[in-house]
Subunit: 579 residues, 2 copies
């Protein structure tokens, strides 16, 4: 802005940038803009008391893995990210406890109020950045304000939950919602010796992130850990005692569940009201509409982080995907574009990873059902594999599922779960999907191999090869879920277990239709296998079952299927219910 | 082949496949061909006694991490891969101790000899597969046959080395050659309390795999572990005692080095003689020439594994890259093509990963010098980063270097090292390079983030952003190696350390040119910094140094460089030699 008074320039042409929101995207935009323009005036308004906190670290503070609360606010080099830090290190003027109330787009001004003093302030801008984030949704139920009802969205929440569990008085907690935050919260308090019940309206954990069959493996593990999973249920009200403290919840199906703590984690909603009030376009999800440059419908206003809508890189759909990594990357793009750059944020694959009750879970792209809903000719394969060579003592078992389009052979998505290095595999697939990879491309990847890191053929490659074999008519599979349903429905199948008798004896399906023939004996005993039946081949991981299916098909068997992932991936009991 | 005798077909039209070599590529080709063609006659000839062994597991057997020698031969489900296994499970007829001596391409016959009995055999084929592998090179020096001189190429070698170190009588070992196998062997015997000296003609470990500056970090670590690194030296002869046992080596520079064991690991040579004798084309490296389908110059003969030449995916050059993962993947391609398939193996990036003295090392694509030699307009960046969020207790430090082409902005290669999850990052970059990724593509990758797995912005993304900043003129860097040279040459530079006084006090460069100004004070103390000097900004990891360089440049400083990777990546002493 240039002001001229009596022929003299009294203000230099200083660009004035105002950023609303100081948690992730906002500070990133501010810092990047500063590095690109040393002269700009950069103002950042944050409604809360703290800024730039490590939201994703909160569960680790609750669990005690992070001891010091301050670590959630410090840089990697131990400096607290407060107003002094922003002023001195970043050259950014930070106003905390300052809430933006309205935007005057004509005047290019933001009206804000200091929440401590009530003082009203006006900030004029050349460019404005909306990084207003998202807020946790609150169920409108009785008892939601009782003492002991928490959300898990802000460091304050983490502090309160940790204080409560550290008293040792919390024996039972109910977590409402089995999304990522709910599960991480459950895991965190569980680590503090609190018994946990998770109440979820849907029939699985991480709906929208994991396919039902993949989620089953996590259910099995969580149940083994004695976590109570209350699926298809909902909390009707939270019940308090005479002191206003939580003493339980009343659910629709299971009735009363005693607890001294409730963590309500039923998702977040984008904070799009300020934008909407200013006449900026918001999408169906309530998130702010932006283009690839992260400009809103006003050419002087950018938006980034949890408050914006993203574009799905595969479907082109507009999606609401509030993730820290997008916020950070988008902040950088905005910082570029504020200062004459030409950066873009093209979209998201919804890549996510989490560690939940020591199980590692990762996913990217479309899930099986999502892909079907979009009209793809979906083909999937699930493979059980070790993340390292089986003879390396640190090897861990994982289950990896790839979703592809049969017509184009494009990879659409993948999910992996296990006490193993799943994140690497999903990152590789996410990278490949970004470039439109087909099955053959993934099969040919030159990935690093040494026994401490991988098998000579990476689990990703094995899994896409399985997809390729299916397409080529060389393999048919059946998922654990479908297999269980069909066995319980009494279908006339032969369950051919091709492991050795020593492996079979201690662990096998308890059913009359089971037949054990060691793979090595199958060629000579093949006449014992009834040719008129559907045969399901079974082993520990799936590879011997595949080999067996080829032997059978080579001998003229017409209806052979591999139990995908074998007994290791089996998420249910070994006994079947009769239906 | 169909034989008709007196009007009667006495042999059905069975495809006859002969495979020479039974370690990695051969068995894979055999198994895949069998799965695709249940009727083919598949014969595999192996000169050794054992087949399908886990060559890469040998160091772990020596170190004791793998206790049971048999694990090197077993499948993941505990079955030994011997003739019985190949016959019964895979339907493959295996002849061990059977060496192919010549190929009659007109008659389509292989002449072989049983090495036990001397019996000569002739195998006719419809298709032949050469999977003859590679052999360790033997230095033609005096003493090479002494007791205690080992190679590390075959399980027998591992068995002998382990037996020797388990006696407790080996106090010192000399490893000749600092390639991957040499280092893994050194690490393995070191774990058995053997002092190790590594003699290497070049000035670094892993030449050809790591850039010199990246190798320095490994040198520093190995020296801290008390491994002796004898660079630029060579062993002239191996000296024995009166019992014919090794008692030391005589080197060119360092003279006599006492030791009771020598591991000779000076590379392998492709076994291309059989092919060459049969008139098949072999390349300059001696490896067999194949096309994308892995056909040799004879349309009935395929070749795969360590005996073939590969095509570099970036340069198109023919390269000899004997790696287990290529052997396995190529075997599968050959198995497809033997049986009517149309698979290809397009080439390699030379992706490699290793764990050496607890440091994890990974690389892909071209190194800096390789890229320069190929005429690229090379730009690199080295970044120090944690593999997880810094507040997660399991975080580890890594150094990652990206090599790119300034003109096309294509990523050409990357290397990473650290006690951290480096393999994941290199696999991601390898995947991206396969698709011709540019800097912006990598910067936009949707990689999984959660505190146990990553930082919100992945180290890969940070590093390529650093490259992008350099190209945009927003950052200049100086490598540790160049910095050291220039400081020691007495160049007039200011070494501006922007860490806090508390961080500076215990660890900083010992030089008169050092000035400490905490980053947060730099804006107000900027007049203290001499503007006429070249300024090198220094911090722990590089990010504050970058921030400082932007502040200085914003204030008009013209010659500012970031010490890449900061003090954490510094591989030398903190004191400089005067030159």
């Amino acid at each position: 802005m240039i002001l001229v008074e009596m022929g003299v320039i009294i203000m230099s042409e200083k660009q004035k940038i105002v950023i609303i929101g100081g948690v992730a995207a906002g500070p990133k935009a501010a810092a990047r803009a500063r590095r690109r323009n040393p002269d700009a005036e950069i103002i950042m308004l944050e409604r809360g008391e703290v800024t730039s906190y490590a939201g994703c670290g909160m569960p680790f503070y609750i669990s005690g893995m992070i001891q010091d609360y301050n670590q959630l606010f410090d840089t990697a080099y131990g400096v607290k990210r407060d107003a002094q830090y922003f002023g001195r290190e970043k050259g950014v003027q930070l106003y905390t406890r300052t809430e933006a109330k309205s935007i005057d787009r004509d005047q290019k001004q933001v009206k804000a109020v200091n929440l401590e003093t009530g003082e009203e302030m006006t900030f004029s801008y050349d460019q404005l950045v909306l990084a207003t984030g998202a807020s946790p949704f609150e169920l409108p139920i009785e008892g939601k304000d009782l003492k002991g009802v928490h959300k898990l969205n802000h460091p304050d929440d983490a502090l309160k939950i940790r204080e409560a569990v550290d008293t040792g008085e919390i024996e039972n907690a109910v977590v409402i919602g089995a999304g990522l935050i709910g599960l991480e919260g459950a895991d965190a308090v569980f680590n503090k010796m609190v018994d946990v019940t998770i109440v979820e309206m849907q029939d699985q954990v991480l709906p929208g992130l994991l396919d039902a069959d993949m989620a089953e493996k996590l259910h099995q593990h969580m149940r083994e850990e004695d976590v109570e999973l209350a699926f298809g249920d909902k909390v009707l009200k939270i019940v308090g005692d005479e002191d206003g403290k939580v003493k339980g919840v009343e659910t629709e199906k299971r009735g009363f569940i005693e607890c001294q703590m409730v963590i309500m984690s039923v998702g977040v909603r984008p904070n799009g009201q300020l934008a909407s009030d200013a006449g900026l376009e918001v999408g169906k999800t309530g998130a702010i509409v932006v283009n690839d440059s992260l400009l809103t419908t006003d050419p002087y206003i950018y938006a980034c982080g949890d408050c914006v809508e993203n574009t799905h890189l595969i479907t082109g759909d507009k999606v609401f995907t509030p993730m820290a990594t997008y916020a950070n990357r988008q902040g950088r793009v905005v910082g570029d574009n504020l200062t004459g750059g030409n950066s873009t944020f093209k979209g998201v694959l919804g890549t996510g990873v989490a560690e939940i009750f020591e199980m590692k879970v990762a996913r990217t792209g479309l899930g099986e059902q999502q892909a079907k809903n979009k009209g793809y000719n979906v083909i999937t394969a699930l493979h059980a594999a070790f993340d390292r060579t089986h003879y390396h003592p640190a090897h861990g078992l994982m289950f990896i599922k790839v979703i592809a389009d049969k017509d184009s052979q494009r990879i659409l998505g993948a999910q992996a779960i296990g006490k193993a290095e799943v994140a690497k595999r999903i990152d590789v697939i996410a990278t490949a999907i970004t470039f439109g990879a087909k099955i053959e491309d993934l099969s040919n990847l030159d990935l690093g191999y040494a026994p401490p890191f991988n098998a000579p053929i990476d689990p990703v490659v094995h899994t896409v090869n399985f997809v390729g074999n299916k397409i080529a008519g060389m393999a048919s599979g059946i998922s654990a879920t479908e297999f269980k349903e069909r066995v319980e429905a009494g279908d006339d199948m032969l369950l051919l277990d091709v492991r050795t008798p020593e492996q079979f004896a201690p662990k096998h399906f308890k059913d009359d239709r089971v037949m054990q023939v060691t793979l090595g004996d199958l060629r000579e005993r093949i006449n014992e296998v009834p040719k008129d039946k559907e045969v399901i081949t079974i082993c520990a991981m799936g590879s011997r079952a595949y080999e067996a299916s080829r032997i059978l098909e080579g001998a003229g068997f017409k209806n052979v299927k591999i139990l995908e992932g074998g007994l290791n991936a089996w998420p249910y009991q070994l006994e079947f219910e009769k239906k």
